[in-house]
């Protein structure tokens, strides 16, 4: 108990950093994922080819391999050009989370667009809207509510996956456990429970929101 009270301020600092990592990365992942979804839905091979390859490669390699590649491998290569200082735990962590999740968000966007019935597109095209107008005024607004629950779920996944940033020395919630392990070696279990409870406190409200939103959405449809 003493240990928990002693560790708490440090852990709050870690929670703050975890939230910062996730908010920035998730915003970037949404933007990139949207672009990837548009690209992979395109009929132009020059757009959908690279997007499909990117998505498959990202989804088939572990995130920890990606973060090592970006943090150690790439910074070693960047050092040749004297740019290694830009490749720190913050940029590498955010880049990895954003790139990794953009592949998953792209699939969510695609599923969302596909779930708007084809008849609506046909109707709007026959009313004289062009493809851009149809997409931004008819399909996209209707897809947004359908995509919010999977986005909330992915945000929770990202919250948990941001723990991986601790392996490259980034300061966040999980790295606080590591530092405590080095300081008080013998009695560790309370520290782990504190970390797990912190993650639960962060993730459970989001998942509760996702579930209630989903229920209301199902009732509305």
């Amino acid at each position: 108990m003493n240990l928990i009270i002693q560790a708490l301020p440090d852990f709050l600092d870690g929670i703050k950093n975890t939230i910062i990592y996730c908010v920035i990365s998730f915003a970037l992942a949404l933007l990139l994922g949207f672009a990837l979804a548009l690209m992979s839905n395109s009929r132009i091979l020059w757009l959908n080819g690279p997007a499909r390859i990117f998505i498959e490669v990202i989804r088939s390699t572990p995130m920890i391999a990606q973060i090592f590649l970006i943090y150690y491998g790439l910074s070693a290569a960047l050092a040749i050009y004297g740019l290694a200082s830009y490749d720190n735990a913050w940029t590498a962590g955010i880049a990895t989370l954003a790139l990794n999740y953009s592949a998953y968000e792209a699939e969510v966007f695609r599923a969302g667009f596909a779930s708007v019935s084809k008849g609506q597109t046909e109707a709007s095209l026959s009313l004289g809207l062009n493809e851009q107008q149809n997409f931004f005024r008819i399909v996209f607004p209707q897809a947004i509510p359908l995509m919010i629950p999977p986005f909330a779920n992915d945000l929770i996944y990202m919250l948990k996956d941001s723990a991986i940033i601790s392996v490259i020395g980034g300061v966040e919630l999980t790295s606080k456990i590591e530092s405590y392990r080095n300081h008080n070696g013998s009695n560790l279990l309370p520290i782990y429970f504190l970390a797990i409870v912190s993650y639960l406190l962060l993730s459970l409200p989001t998942s509760y929101f996702a579930r209630s939103f989903e229920r209301r959405l199902r009732a509305a449809l």
Binding site: L45, T61, P62, K160, T174, I177, L204, S207
Partner: protein, 290 residues
């Protein structure tokens, strides 16, 4: 208006035909990119065959660890699903808390918890998994088959952490699978004189398994990728650990270090991508069967 729509449709179709020439350009570029990637490996040719055996050893261990973990995870998941569907409220609650806590916290923290927290707590109580297994193996006169105590214990707690984690996800998969079987079938089986265990075994489970196969393979793919997290705990020389340690010996040569990380990621890709294709194939076949 009608004419405008028609013209636009024709425009799209016309555009599509004129893209084909551009498409060849894309395939040429793709071929060039692949050739460039092959050349990248060729430029490190004296290292490829030096690194490959080391990395392949790690890959074999990764596959073995994932297979053992997924079998145990299926066991945990099956027990958890039965718990969540149990008639007794306390059992339902235990299963619910198990699923929520495990799914609400990062797998890396759980790996650290088992690998450092639980293992030190248990060893201070006098429990050492290696000694237990060594005793059993000695009784079976086969203790020479065991690896060294340190990697054995690391693998033991790693497998437990992974399978305990994935058990929670599979609990939900199995539960939805069991619940998706029409209730009338269970009622019919019961009214035909089967008891509840026979109903579960002969009527519900065979149909539930069919539905759970695609999500199960998807979780297996993520499990293979999550074994890479064991490198953060240390003690097991799976693929990511071998990659990282190989790279760290090359710190003086940055280009070569990047190459090792790319090589390691490529082997993960070679393991996981066929599995992803398989799961997509199974999903499509099941969708067709319905």
């Amino acid at each position: 208006m009608e004419r405008a729509v028609f013209a636009e449709r024709r425009g799209i179709l016309g555009a599509r035909t004129s893209f084909t020439a551009l498409n060849y350009g894309f395939y040429i570029l793709l071929a060039l990119a692949i050739a460039g990637f092959v050349y990248y490996f060729y430029s490190f040719r004296e290292y490829v065959f030096l690194d490959l055996p080391v990395l392949l050893q790690g890959a074999v261990l990764t596959i073995i660890l994932s297979l053992i973990s997924i079998v145990l995870a299926a066991l945990f998941g099956f027990i958890g699903a039965l718990g969540r569907l149990s008639r007794f409220a306390p059992i339902r609650w235990v299963a619910f808390v198990y699923v929520e806590v495990i799914r609400g916290s990062p797998i890396l923290v759980q790996l650290l918890l088992w690998g450092f927290g639980v293992s030190t707590a248990l060893s201070s109580l006098g429990f050492d998994p290696y000694n237990v297994v060594y005793g059993i193996a000695t009784a079976l006169q086969s203790n020479s088959l065991l690896p060294d105590p340190q990697p054995f214990n690391a693998a033991f707690y790693g497998i437990i952490a992974l399978s305990f984690n994935y058990g929670a996800y599979l609990t939900e998969v199995f539960r939805t699978g069991i619940e998706s079987v029409d209730r009338g079938q269970g009622e019919a089986a019961l009214s035909l004189g089967m008891d509840s265990r026979q109903t579960m075994r002969h009527i519900v489970l065979p149909q539930a398994i069919r539905i759970t196969i695609p999500p199960f393979t998807n979780y297996f793919i993520t499990l293979v990728q999550d074994t890479a997290l064991l490198s953060a705990v240390g003690g097991i020389v799976e693929l990511q650990t071998t990659t990282t340690s190989l790279a760290s010996t090359q710190a003086s040569n940055p280009g070569r270090q990047l190459f090792v990380y790319v090589f390691g990621a490529l082997i993960f890709l070679i393991i996981c991508y066929p599995l992803a294709l398989l799961s997509g194939f199974l999903e499509r076949r099941l969708a067709k069967a319905d």
